[in-house]
Symmetry: C2
């Protein structure tokens, strides 16, 4: 176990990262299996005294999982008292996972800043666990293992925030192939929202945002009428990311 | 100056409240004029060790301004290094506003959690300044005084968040009289968004949300054709607050 010098960190402040992956029309979260415990955790850690909190989240994610270049969005500060779990830290000491110094640090009250990212599952290469965990795996949101502390609530709130964000931000670039059909885009939204959508409403709304280009080509080879292929107008997509989707005001 | 016992607070953590008021089609912010300084501040303060951060924001707002029963929404954690201002704390000591103990506490690095509320200006009765400030006033967003630290940025981000929120949450209950005309509702949105809106689009969108009831009555007495009076369907309004406006999915 490498020594963790706790003096260099901002007291009582941590970050936790919810990394959601989209793969074969399923939503998955990247979780760490804790050493010697039957519990899982979000990749998280502390903020250095001379470090921006947003930058700490990027560093922590890299240190815990080896993942880089992931655009993390801050979504909530979890600041209730009683986020701790009775006996959790003491258990880690007794199992030899952490030393007394780190235990003393961990026993103070922490507030944690939640971050999330939605990534294309297959683009994430071999995430690695850190010294507190024994593996790092994608787990389906429909069959989550037991999570430590309030990490289940943090994950749930990240998902809720993402769903709400679909109302004012575009999504799909880097999650879909460069060219895609309207049913493929709809399947992405349906997975994220966890509900079936009306085909005609969906198409009308999407085209109304002005971020899609209908190419002159169709996907051929299927059993049904060949659907048109679309691609994102990257400039308009980025404008919408910054300024919000055209909400019809 | 009452003594402020800093030992009871969570280290390096504060809250700041952006209270926006709507009055005569103008957007105003509730600000504190600092004692002996030509600067203004958002109502803010510290979080007790045994206190939920969200509850601390409510308490702080009450202690600084006397305002109660205001629904505060958390919107962002400001966590960059360098939020401090060279000489700010030392200046307060030299002017006799704070003592050395409080100065030592204030000189540590702080991250601050931003909260905002939108209230009906005239319902706020006589806000009171605290011991660090000499007055508490509404100031128009179009003519803000100089704000200390990064409070200008916090205010700006709160306003941007509110504008974005108009895309997925209803607004207007408690800000408008019980019965109002469509042009009055539109004026509220135009003030918040800072832009003119198309009358027909606005009406279509608002009616599509299903939160408005058109009463059988009209406002009479104006020079123009008497407009219909509307009121909010409070049950559907509250459902939309919780679950989001019908975005057409």
């Amino acid at each position: 176990m490498p020594a963790l010098s706790v003096d260099k960190f901002h007291p009582g402040l941590s970050v936790d990262c919810v990394i959601l992956g989209f793969h074969q029309n399923e939503l998955k979260a990247l979780l760490l299996k804790m050493k010697k415990m039957d519990k899982w955790a979000l990749p998280g850690g502390f903020v250095e005294k001379e470090e921006d909190v947003d930058k700490a989240a990027v560093r922590v994610l890299w240190e815990r999982t080896g993942l880089k270049d992931i655009f993390l969005q801050q979504f909530y500060l979890f600041g209730d008292v009683g986020r701790e779990e009775e006996g959790h830290v003491e258990g880690l000491v007794q199992k030899g996972v952490i030393d007394r110094e780190l235990a003393g640090w961990l026993k103070q009250r922490f507030v944690t800043v939640g971050y999330y990212a939605l990534v294309e599952y297959s683009q994430v290469e071999a995430p690695q666990p850190d010294y507190l965990s024994e593996s790092c795996e994608w787990r389906s949101l429909s069959a989550l293992p037991e999570l430590m502390l309030d990490h289940g609530r943090i994950l749930e709130k990240a998902h809720a925030t993402l769903k709400r964000q679909l109302n004012y931000q575009p999504i799909g670039l880097n999650l879909l192939p460069r060219r895609f059909t309207m049913p493929e885009l709809q399947a992405l939204y349906e997975t994220l929202l966890g509900q079936k959508l009306d085909r005609r409403n969906f198409q009308r709304k999407m085209m109304g945002y002005g971020i899609l280009i209908r190419t002159g080509e169709r996907r051929t080879g299927g059993a049904h009428k060949s659907p048109w292929l679309y691609e994102f107008d990257e400039e308009k997509y980025r404008q919408s990311l910054a300024g919000g989707l055209n909400a019809g005001w």
